[in-house]
Amino acid sequence: MPLAQTVTAVPVVVDDAKCIADKGCTVCVDVCPLDVLRIAETLDGRKTAYMAYDECWYCMPCEADCPTGAVKVNLPYLLK
């Protein structure tokens, strides 16, 4: 069966102005139990963490362990 791209609103938001992935930080990516966060390049060539997969247990290690307070965990829309 061919595939389609279905959009989904993700619960975890990273404030790229605060994220220091540029300096090599990967803390949130490292701790996430579901392994759904990744580092991407922003339009101006900097780096930032972001939620790559909508597979979240809304558990909070990413937010709790981020050294700069850049991560906000919201609840997935389906259950909020």
């Binding site: 061919p2 247990w57 909070m60 290690p61 389906l78 909020k80």
Partner: protein, 585 residues
Amino acid sequence: MDEIRDGMNRIDCDILVIGGGTAGPMAALKAKARNPGANVVLLEKANVKRSGAISMGMDGLNNAVIPGHATPEQYVKEITIANDGIVDQAPVYRYAQNCYDIIQELDRFGIRFQKDKNGEYDVKKVHHIGTYVLPMPNGETVKKALYRQLRKARINISNRYMATRLLTGEGRIAGAICVNTRSAEFLVIRAKAVILCLGAAGRLGLPASGYLYGTYENATNSGDGYALAYHAGAGLANLECYQINPLIKDYNGPACAYVAGPFGAYTANAKGERFIECDYWSGQMMQEFYDELVSGNGPVYLKLNHLAPETIGEIEDILHKVERPTRGTFQAGRGTDYRQKMIEMHISEIGFCSGHSASGVFVDEDARTTVTGLYAAGDMASVPHNYMLGAFTNGAVAGEHAGDWIRDVDHAAIDEGAIEAERRRVLAPTLREDGIPPNQIEYKTRRMVNDYLQPPKVTSKMELAQERFAEIREDLSSGMLVRNSHELLRSLEASSILDCADMAAAASLFRTESRWGLYHNRVEFEGRDNENWFCHTLLTRGRDGMPTLRKQPVAPYVVEIDDTEKDAYYRQRVGSNALKTVAAE
């Protein structure tokens, strides 16, 4: 991102612990302490720093047997009664005797437990009969404390590796095959002993929200431990005794009566009336909860709004900070202020978990499975109502036993053919041009679990489930599509979930009686049939590759239970009396 790389590494160790959540770290520490020369590897699908049910911490110990408050014998009795008598008491007794030492050890690790003015442990009553709940004022430190100990003991930690199959040889355990979840590279580990600590089967039923990861259990726990044990030929006990929990509706986490109960909160119906005398989770309690939910008195709530505002503040402080901190976000979003509104509750999806229920990979009092050299502890092992302290304590039992056992054995020979076959199975979905993605395979499996396996259980529905699962199995093995290493992880989880679904159906069909309240409520077989079914069910992998079942006697009790006490857990409904239960039998 997440590209699939070709690779296969091999390592040897003495003791391989799989799963670095709760039981796993303790098993590794104790194995090393018992046998300092041993090479102990702790393998984890996520990252040991923040993995497992206790990822963010815990609100308290739910089953602490503390001298002066309870005896091991009283605890064994309570757990036996709560599980309808189908309990091998020896492992429960071992736990009850050892857990106080583990509490003190955790204390030394820096995890504090609540004490009263006199410096005594401040244990609370939540269970139907005895007193076993001990709050943890700094419960958020659990994972950090464990991690410090692991580093100190120089345990070799391998994060982001998922174990996919165990290796056996010479009739005993030989190691495990693992896949890196970020690169798809293989790691074959030879080990003299393997300790399984992979947690619950938390992604078996689909939460009512429809969100695949909105589960009660940490969603990393997809039942891989049950599948590993099954394919290695180990026996699994009483899988028809599902886990079903009373939870905050939609949020799907504990509300939590264990925390709020001792402050005066209770489970109520829509009229605000109490209908059960005890908020401790058991199949019998869940049956009452379910009955109320579907009656005209539903839905069911946790009621706090009668408490003093300061008390509620104290409860909020615990509930919104430690174990599931997003509880506060959720309640705020719904406009639920505990001072005004009751908390709407619902029943969870089904799962396997001895942490709260009683099923799992069969183990004896030394945490040994039926495969030589293979141990299991925590939510996936068959010791009932284990909770966190059970995971720690039985993890320790497994680690210590394995530490001794490996002294006299060498690595078992491994079958290269099995490794090659597993490589082909794992990578097959990556070789296709198009097909069905793992999330759709998983969604469909879990929806069928809800449609057909959720109690009350009906024979013809469960048989239909088996037909659907067979079709999905065909899709999974010949049509699943994986495009990167992250999807590969999900595809392997989908396979474990399907194995667990088949096991749940087979075990539930086998036991032709009702038992454990809602957990195994079979509509056509009302009441318990002690004459034919006062036994465990033991599931193994049959020659056709599908589950096969047999009865296994309950081991003679260590602590006798008086006839008048046996049905105590059936007398939970407010105003109930003993006669009702007797009549049902």
